[in-house]
């Protein structure tokens, strides 16, 4: 039921003619729209809502996703341009405006209902694909852009565009379309030697009917995809001209600094605005339910004046919550490790812990807004402009159509700027309303950003495993607290009893999706434990895993490739070790080998990371590689150093001095290899994250005999075991 196929995707669009509306709560399914030809198409040469060919032969591709560092717009444009046979040098991209027409809620349907990434699942009723909580969905998250928008949108749109251009050329030349070929944005009739550019055909092509089922190129004929292409946004990122949410300038705007209730959910009890109100440049002190803000003529003035205030907040009844109290609750909820079969020759148990983590994107949160009567403009970097729009509308009591979201580049997303995380849009528009109609840019300090995040959950897991007399695993089971679902259980290994059970232990810390979501901690738990089981069996950790992957050839191939890249099994100097880990998330399988050294004094140095990736196929080889490199560094910072702690209900860490991350001196060399498989396209923004921490912990064990079971690793002394 509701099986997603390419035919229904296009067919529905053309049948509906003026728009394909499906579902309830005003939710518009966008995929149908790509095949619509707007009424003014001939004038503008607009072939589909996603692709424009202008008379000067420029192909512009509208991207319904944001740029937060992954190079998604470039990869998506490559997918469309490949099908079109467009000249890459004449392809441009543009982010789609925050309008229902560009909603990409279909990313959910693209999964056919079989698997929806956790970040998208909230609020989705699987039966009807009803979007229960919001009116729009234009999300960049869940590593979905390329595999959904690209595979189900861009390719089809590109192919449809090409067929329309062919039909126009056939008409112009008076020949059969089948006798034409396309290359580099030109269509050629080889027999007569005539050729014509896409641009020259644009307006004629736009007047033609949209094909309902265009033919896609066979992957073996790809010429653009799988190559390394420079990102289209790169020039602006080396000359300082890229505009992020923080950089927006609206004429006449003021600046706001904000202090929020230190304990999440706390309310502003009282504040005397007088000390700030009289300071230079200050326009207004704005009190909100859970925050106080100062609006001034510069951020410096606003911030200085805010510091003069002494707001009193309540603690929402959470004043006694601490990291220790949360882990105590986890500990009690989890209880003893699961029981193992009585016929086991050997059983082992282990407990793992992972901390809360902040996203800490390099760009602190910022939101600029102007509220004027029944109209509102919002300028911010968001991973979902439509949800940002509805958030603003709700805060102001407006209709979503009265709000205009102007999305900006994101200085890192990592999940912080996903739907449901738009506290900053809510606050930004409320402040703007208080000084209406003057536009105001609310800037969060790093301290605001660090202490008011939607954190990666902390977690505790107790594992038990059983081996038979030959060292073959009979069972692996775990009880865990902290979030998780399939990520806790899913393992590719042939183990008869494989089970993970969630134990409920609630806490008031605000959590959210963090790059690779719950695979980030469960990957560490699972792949550390498998390693422990391998050692308990007296087997090489790579061979142990490999022996359990006979029925899963894709996993096996990835594992073997990582081992090969790392020269697994060759001798290393004393104090050095290799560790391996294998995980799957967002449709991609990644194995990583970490090569690390632990000195006699217990100092750790990560020397090399080798990554093998099966994401089905690669679109832009260079950005794909960059995502793997970046995911590994992001994960390495967390594995080694990062931890968010809680005291008296509030977050302790304030800035980069106490929420630590690695620098260039700690960055290892990363070697990446992609395996092409017959699998569906997998995501790449996240899947390189989960294997890193366990591979590193496993390497440390190999190097010095210390088993790290708690993150960050810096909490465990690495003094070599004799």
């Amino acid at each position: 039921m509701n099986k997603w196929t390419r035919r229904t995707f296009i067919g529905a669009g053309t049948v509906a003619g003026g728009g394909f509306l499906l579902g309830v709560a005003g939710f518009t399914f966008a995929p149908a729209r790509h095949a619509l030809v707007p009424g003014d198409a001939p004038a503008h040469g607009q072939l589909t809502t996603w692709i424009t060919v202008s008379p000067d032969n420029i192909v512009t591709i509208l991207i319904p996703h944001c740029e937060m560092g992954q190079g998604t717009p470039t990869a998506l444009a490559m997918m469309a341009a490949e099908e079109m046979e467009a000249d890459w040098a004449h392809v441009r991209v543009q982010e789609a405006p925050a309008l229902d027409e560009y909603a990409n809620g279909y990313v959910i349907r693209a999964f056919g209902g079989s698997y929806v990434p956790a970040v998208l699942a909230r609020g989705v009723d699987y039966g009807s694909y009803k979007i229960a909580e919001w009116f729009g969905f234009q999300v960049t998250g869940g590593s979905t852009a390329v595999r959904s928008t690209g595979e189900f949108g861009m390719r089809v749109a590109g192919a449809a565009a090409k067929e329309m251009l062919f039909a126009a050329a056939a008409k112009q030349f008076g020949v059969d379309a089948a006798s034409l070929t396309a290359k580099d944005s030109r269509i050629t009739h080889a027999a007569s030697g005539r050729s014509v550019s896409f641009g020259e055909l644009a307006s004629a092509a736009a007047a033609l009917p949209v094909p309902t089922s265009p033919r896609l190129k066979s992957p073996d004929t790809f010429t653009l995809r799988r190559t390394a292409r420079q990102r289209l946004d790169m020039p602006s990122k080396v000359n300082g001209s890229a505009v992020y949410g923080m950089d927006v300038v609206v004429p006449g705007m003021l600046y706001a600094a904000i202090e929020m209730a230190p304990v999440q959910g706390g309310k502003l009890v009282s504040v005397d605005p007088a000390p700030a109100a009289s300071m230079p440049g200050v326009t207004k002190v704005v009190t909100l339910e859970s925050a106080v803000a100062v609006v001034a003529d510069s951020f410096w003035h606003a911030r200085r004046a805010l510091a003069a205030l002494k707001p009193q907040f309540d603690d929402a009844g959470h004043g006694d919550v601490s990291t220790a109290s949360i882990f105590d609750a986890f500990d009690k909820a989890v209880g003893a490790a699961p029981a193992m079969p009585s016929n086991a020759a050997k059983t082992i148990t282990a407990e793992y812990r992972a901390p809360f983590l902040a996203h800490a994107g390099m760009e602190p949160i910022a939101c600029t807004a102007r509220v004027d009567g029944t109209s509102c403009d919002v300028w911010a970097g968001v991973q979902d402009p439509l949800n940002a729009r509805s958030t603003a509308a709700k805060a102001l009591g407006l209709d979503a159509t009265q709000v205009h979201v102007h999305n900006q580049m994101l200085g890192g997303g990592f999940g912080r700027r996903l739907p449901f995380n738009f506290d900053y849009v809510d606050l930004g528009v409320r402040i703007a309303k208080a000084v209406s109609p003057v536009p105001v840019k609310m800037i969060w300090t790093r301290e605001n950003d660090m202490q008011h995040d939607y954190y990666r959950t902390a977690g505790l897991s107790r594992h038990a495993g059983a081996l038979d007399a030959t060292g073959t695993p009979l069972a692996v089971e775990s009880f865990y607290a902290g979030d998780g679902d399939d990520e806790a259980t899913g393992m590719p290994y042939a183990i008869a009893r494989l089970k993970a059970t969630a134990k409920k232990a609630s806490h008031p810390i605000r959590t959210g999706a963090w790059r690779s979501v719950n695979s980030s901690q469960h990957g560490f738990f699972k792949e550390s434990f498998i390693d422990e089981l391998a050692h308990a069996a007296g087997k090489d950790p790579f061979e142990f895993r490999r022996g359990l992957l006979t029925a899963n050839p894709r996993f096996k191939a990835v594992l073997e490739k990582a081992a090969e890249l790392a020269s697994w099994g060759t001798p290393l100097p004393a104090g050095e070790g290799r560790g391996i880990a294998l995980t799957e998330c967002f449709g991609s399988i990644v194995a990583e080998v970490v090569h690390a050294r632990v000195s006699d004094e217990g100092r750790l140095k990560v020397l090399n990371v080798y990554a093998a990736v099966d994401c089905g196929d690669v679109v832009n080889l260079d950005t794909a590689t960059a995502q793997v490199e970046g995911g590994i560094i992001f994960a390495l910072s967390a594995a080694l150093l990062s931890e968010i702690t809680v005291a008296q209900g509030h977050i302790v860490e304030r800035n980069f001095r106490d929420y630590q991350m690695i620098h260039i001196n700690d960055a290892p060399k990363v070697t990446t290899a992609f395996l092409r498989s017959d699998g569906m396209l997998g995501g790449l923004g996240e899947p390189a994250v989960p294997p890193l921490a366990p591979a590193l912990a496993n390497a440390i064990y190999a190097a010095c005999g210390v088993r790290v079971r708690e993150l960050p690793i810096r909490k465990t002394p690495l003094t070599r075991k004799a």
Partner: protein, 154 residues
Amino acid sequence: MPIDLTVNGTPHTLDVEPEMPLLWALREQLGLTGTKFGCGIAACGACTVHLDGRAVRSCTLPMSATAGKSVVTIEGLAHEGTLHPVQQVWLDQQVPQCGYCQSGLIMAVAGLLAQNPNPSDEDIDAGITNICRCGTFARARTAIHACARTEGAA
């Protein structure tokens, strides 16, 4: 108190408090938003600019310390329409991801190479302490070495 300084070759007189950090004067008074706010405590380097040719972190540098001096920001690094060699190699090596920290990183690297045209890995480790959350470090290192080679050959 008016403060005279030169920014990207243009003289300016700014009427700001002497303790206002240079970062905010650049961004909000002069509209040069290429220099980024990252931490406000000189820990991340996103705000790096050149002050009389040396890389400094502008988020904690008071305007009073800039009086009579010459500031170069990322917007002023290119020369007569030609990218600075660091910018060019950054493009060639496709270093940035989200790009937010890259203005500061590029300015820090340009500052390092001005002092030490052929830095060793240890020099890079000691001299480049910027934070990048996207994890562009390995590419940045490759790019620094590539830049040193190109410039050395020229």
